[in-house]
């Protein structure tokens, strides 16, 4: 169905004497909003179908009939006339309020909602002060058993909004009504304590104080709060919200309806992860190394020591300095950091957390299609005909994009097809599923492309227009399914069935997760997905496309700022002399001639003494990578390591100079979400001690080195950066479509990308799923509750979930007589450790899952790092490893190992 060609019928309606033309199907409450007329409502949520439960929105319709109608649920007719302030309307409204107040307690002085409560506001505005009805109060004890949300059923007006948002938007259905009539209550089923995703959306839609946040309870009154719109910095979604503060202290986070990528939805991290800024463990003063210790010092001393160390290495030879940046930095900070390394320090050894993130996803779409970031917007995902997720546990890794996918399922019964190595949440809702052996994404994707080619599923237009490219692909895929079935454990028929369902959709969207982009041969795997999109018309149909999700907040900023040796600011390639020349001209400097080292190469060079100084900002390579990557030894071998961070990270512990950095709530700037929206973060809290923005730190070091990079504010940096990165010219929180791929870009890629290098793309690695004496496959991955950088410093989030337990297949656990809470020993080629087990039916047999955020480094350190080749983006594979698992029998032994 194409909405562009369908003529939208409009009707003419009149509300309170004002006439307006509205699209057919508009409900009274929507038309009133267009006219700026307020109709009170408790249960109506613009994002959801009308619930029509609270009845407070009842208004008088005078034409074509005279009758009272619910404004939220009544679709208007042509010529309809409505009065929202007639005597009859006001009388009904007042009676409604009177009836609610027969039950609602008048505990406003101790209710967190007081001051922003709809019932309170409407009572003042429309209520009477002489309630003619008999009062009958409820007397339920408050349910304070859940870790984050408190339920006060006495205040509940039973509008059902919370149940609806939980069912329709979050699609978790964690709460419902129980009982009937006067004693109806809202809560978790079976009378148990609420244990859910704790997105907090039920609390957001509650018009009264029936659901409140445990973390914010009694800590604020709404009128004391200052409200600052900012961008959530936990994941690549980049949701907009209001960070509320009382006297400079964070009181809570509230969503903004209809704004930003989430359109008013937040996840548990966004909602409740606002405590890390005020954590005692923050670094507040600069530290310098004196022998084994890091001691506090003055800012000037730290700057001078850092500058001396970096300058010394620079003087000893070009390329003896390295820089590593992270997605915690704003666009402006990343840009300036890049300029410090390449211009001031004259080194091309610049890399970033992109290397252990989604660099393969970002570079493939850019090189092939000229698109940096996602091809599709979240809105396009919501409107897709089919979504194919590969190696992407979206509800955990990008929760709000996950909601967009859920919305696609909910609204249109659209097929959501999921291929993953475990039964993910979204897979259970999906229409088609492939559960493959962990680590074999490349083979699964090859299988899907092969199925499209073999089964005649190629888009007709594509086949007609680009026969040469199609033929090139066909000849690459002439092999049998055997090489795919064996490592993946999938059946040909299942692969073909999934491919068929995806190819049948006209607007199909592919979402690739970290197990694709960071997996073995990740760049090839991502390129194959581009092939898959191409063959199924995904590159030539508006609203369709192929996307890699980025998980770090400003990961895309790193790509746009060229924070990798193979990139330059603007996202262009280092190889491109013109792009490089543009940067040199803008900075009025000469850039180093050769392409610099990638992170893993840097580590080698550090160990071998070829790099002797480094600056690391906003990321923690030692803490992020397994021991096997050798980051600790490499960074520890440096003569000078300068680190800026909020906390004394594993990397900072090895530094010679540590600068206290500011959190997103204490600085201004912009960040780029995975769609490519450049969104603003706004300072609203006081930075602790001497903590400074990273751009300030860079600027101070540069000045000390006699190469000033002076700016009054981040806006000035952005203005400079925008000359190289045009995306930074506009900050954009609208939900514009991404525009897709230009025909020129597509044809240029087909001409180039299919001529060379195709052969290797479709060669499967020989060692795929090869047992190495250890029979279990361990995957270390992300949880919804924790991203692992800042999230673990939130006492609130840690209270909600600090589970660092090993998930294993429940049937297998039964066979091995392992129960929840039992201790098991994992042994791999890189050592062994003991962890707590947690059987889970969603984990596949032979597979183990351990959350990455956990402070239990031991498990992460079991992972053997597979260094990626240059052709594959030099991305280290460090999510999988093979281990042997055995139950630890005695308590003594368990304690001894712990």
């Amino acid at each position: 169905m194409s909405t562009a060609t369908t003529k939208v019928d409009t009707i003419t309606v009149t509300i309170n004497g004002q006439t307006i033309q509205v699209p057919k199907g508009t409900r009274i409450i929507q038309a009133a909003e267009m006219l700026g007329i307020e109709i009170p409502t408790f249960c109506y949520q613009p994002r959801m179908r009308p619930n029509a439960a609270c009845r407070i929105c009842t208004v008088e319709v005078t034409k074509p009939m005279n009758k009272m109608f619910m404004a939220c649920a009544t679709e208007m007719m042509d010529g309809m006339e409505v009065l929202t302030d007639s005597e009859r309307t006001l009388k009904d409204r007042q009676t409604n309020l009177d009836l609610l107040l027969t039950q609602h307690p008048l505990d406003c002085p101790v209710c967190d909602k007081g001051g922003e409560c709809k019932l309170q506001d409407y009572s003042v505005k429309y209520g009477s002060f002489e309630n003619p009805f008999e009062t009958k109060r409820k007397d339920f004890p408050e349910d304070i058993r859940s870790v984050a949300l408190d339920f006060n059923s006495n205040r509940c007006i039973l509008c059902g909004g919370c149940i609806q948002v939980c069912g329709d938007i979050q699609q978790v259905d964690a709460i419902g009504f129980s009982k009937r009539g006067f004693i109806t209550v809202v809560g978790a089923p079976m009378g148990e304590a609420l244990d859910c995703e704790f997105c907090g959306q039920c609390m957001d839609v509650c018009p009264v104080g029936a659901i409140t946040s445990r973390f914010a309870k009694y800590k604020f009154r709404p009128w004391q709060e200052e409200k600052t719109q900012t961008t959530c910095t936990y994941c690549g979604c980049g949701c907009q919200y209001d960070l509320r503060t009382v006297d400079g202290e964070a009181s809570r986070v509230t969503p903004i309806e209809g704004v930003g990528p989430g359109q008013g939805s937040l996840c548990v991290r966004g909602h409740f992860g606002y405590h890390f800024m005020e954590d005692d463990r923050r670094i507040t003063r600069p530290l310098v190394r004196r022998g084994d210790k890091l001691v506090e010092t003055t800012w000037e001393e730290a700057v001078s020591e850092a500058a001396r160390g970096l300058a010394g290495a620079k003087a000893a030879g070009a390329g003896r300095v390295a820089g590593i940046a992270g997605g915690r930095l704003t666009n402006e900070e990343q840009y300036l950091f890049g300029r410090l390394v390449r211009d001031v320090l004259g080194s091309s050894n610049l890399d970033s957390s992109l290397r252990y993130g989604a660099i393969n996803g970002v570079t493939v779409t850019r090189e092939a299609l000229g698109v940096t970031g996602m091809m599709n917007s979240f809105d396009e995902v919501r409107a897709a005909d089919a979504v194919l997720l590969i190696g992407c546990d979206i509800t955990q890794e990008a929760p709000i994009l996950g909601l967009a996918v859920k919305e696609a399922i909910h609204k249109g019964e659209k097929p959501v097809l999921v291929a993953d190595s475990m039964k993910t949440e979204i897979m259970k809702r999906g229409a088609g599923r492939l559960v493959y052996t962990p680590g074999t994404e490349i083979a699964v994707i090859k299988g899907l492309v092969k199925a499209v080619v073999d089964e005649g599923l190629i888009d007709e237009q594509v086949a007609k227009k680009y026969p040469k490219a199609v033929q090139a692909l066909r000849s690459e895929l002439s092999g049998t399914y055997k090489e795919i079935e064996t490592p993946t454990g999938l059946k040909k028929d299942d692969i073909v069935a999934l491919a068929k369902r995806f190819a049948a959709a006209s607007k199909g969207i592919i979402l690739a997760g970290p197990r694709v982009t960071g997996g073995l041969k990740g760049k090839s795997a991502m390129t194959m997905l581009v092939d898959l999109a191409f063959l199924t018309g995904g590159l030539t149909t508006p609203g369709a496309g192929v996307n890699a999700i980025t998980m770090e907040n400003n990961e895309l900023g790193l790509a746009l700022n060229g924070m990798a040796p193979e990139l330059v600011p603007g996202g262009g390639s280092w190889d491109d002399a013109e792009a490089r020349g543009k940067v040199a001209t803008a900075w009025n400097c000469s850039l180093p001639n050769h392409q610099g080292d990638t992170m893993m190469e840097m580590f080698d060079a550090m160990r071998e003494g070829r790099i002797s100084a480094a600056i690391v900002a906003g990321t923690d390579p030692v803490g992020r990578l397994p021991q096997d990557a050798g980051a600790a030894e490499a960074l520890g071998a440096l003569d000078c390591l300068v680190v800026s961070d909020l906390f004394l990270s594993e990397t900072a512990k090895r530094a010679h100079v540590v600068f206290p950095a500011r959190s997103y709530a204490e600085k201004d700037g912009t960040v780029t979400n995975m769609e490519g929206r450049v969104q603003t973060i706004t300072s609203c809290m006081k930075a602790p001690g001497k903590a400074a923005s990273d751009w300030k730190i860079v600027s101070d070091i540069a000045r000390e080195m006699g190469h000033p990079l002076e700016y009054a504010n981040p806006g000035e940096i952005r203005a400079e950066a925008a000359a190289l990165v045009p995306q930074f010219a506009d900050t954009d929180v609208t939900n514009a479509a991404r525009g897709g791929v230009s025909t020129e870009a597509l044809e240029a890629w087909l001409a180039g990308g299919f001529g060379t290098g195709m052969g290797e793309r479709y060669d499967l690695p020989a060692k795929l799923n090869e047992a190495s004496g250890h029979e279990m496959r361990l995957y270390v991955g992300e949880l919804l509750f924790h991203s692992g950088s800042m999230s673990t410093y939130n006492w609130g989030l840690m209270k909600i979930n600090d589970a660092a337990s090993l998930q294993l297949n429940s049937r297998e656990a039964r066979k091995l007589k392992i129960k929840e809470g039992d201790r098991v020993r994992l042994t791999g080629d890189r050592g062994s450790c003991v962890v707590t087990a947690k059987p889970d039916p969603n984990i596949m047999p032979g597979t183990l899952f351990f959350p990455r955020h956990s402070v239990l480094d031991d498990v992460r350190n079991l992972v053997q790092v597979v260094e990626g080749s240059e052709e594959e983006g030099s991305v280290p594979q460090f999510r999988f490893t093979r281990v042997t698992m055995e139950k630890v029998s005695g308590v003594a032994e368990a304690e001894a190992s712990a």
Binding site: G176, F177, S178, R180, P189
Partner: protein, 169 residues
């Protein structure tokens, strides 16, 4: 101890089958609950999570329906459900005396079940046959124009029949 073991060992196979039979059909919740209650006499709460899994409907919705309707019970009930109508017509004809006599006779309160799991006493608002007031029901059998003594006799007859049955075994 033994009671607990029995509870744990309650065989829910048939209940799972019922849910599987209804899977995919429209609005299955109430139908499944009714069928399971017909089979087991009540809805074992431990069955609900599995029922939600099988039907692929949220547990919260099932629990909502279960607790909304007074027809569903979540604890075991007696072999004989003794319903005493206390609706307007029956009340006028002396239903209260019948209910009181039943409480004495069975030594339970309203809505409770005898220890031997034989009888559950249940006052109901109206059975819809006011012409036969005062009216009682023992399972599906109607007892019209009842008196306290008449009901006591019926209960006594059942007790005798049941103990004879046990003796035979």
């Amino acid at each position: 101890m033994t009671a607990k073991t029995e509870e744990q060992e309650l065989d829910l196979t048939r209940a799972y089958e019922i849910a599987e039979e209804e899977y995919g059909k429209q609005g299955p919740i109430i139908r499944v609950l009714q069928k399971v209650q017909a089979e087991y006499g009540y809805i074992p709460p431990e069955y609900l999570p599995e029922m939600a899994e099988i039907l692929e409907v949220p547990l919260a919705k099932i629990f909502g329906a279960l607790t909304f309707y007074s027809q569903f019970y979540t604890s075991p009930r007696g072999k004989y459900i003794v319903k005493v109508c206390v609706g307007t017509a029956c009340h006028v004809q002396g239903a209260k005396d019948i209910l009181d006599r039943m409480k004495d006779e069975l030594k339970v309160g309203a809505g409770e079940t005898t220890e031997d799991m034989m009888f559950t006493l249940e006052p109901v608002a109206c059975i819809g046959s006011c012409g036969l007031a005062p009216l009682c029901l023992i399972n599906t059998e109607t007892a019209a124009n009842m008196t306290p003594a008449g009901m006591a006799g019926k209960i006594q007859a059942i007790v005798e029949k049941e103990s004879a049955g046990v003796a035979e075994e």
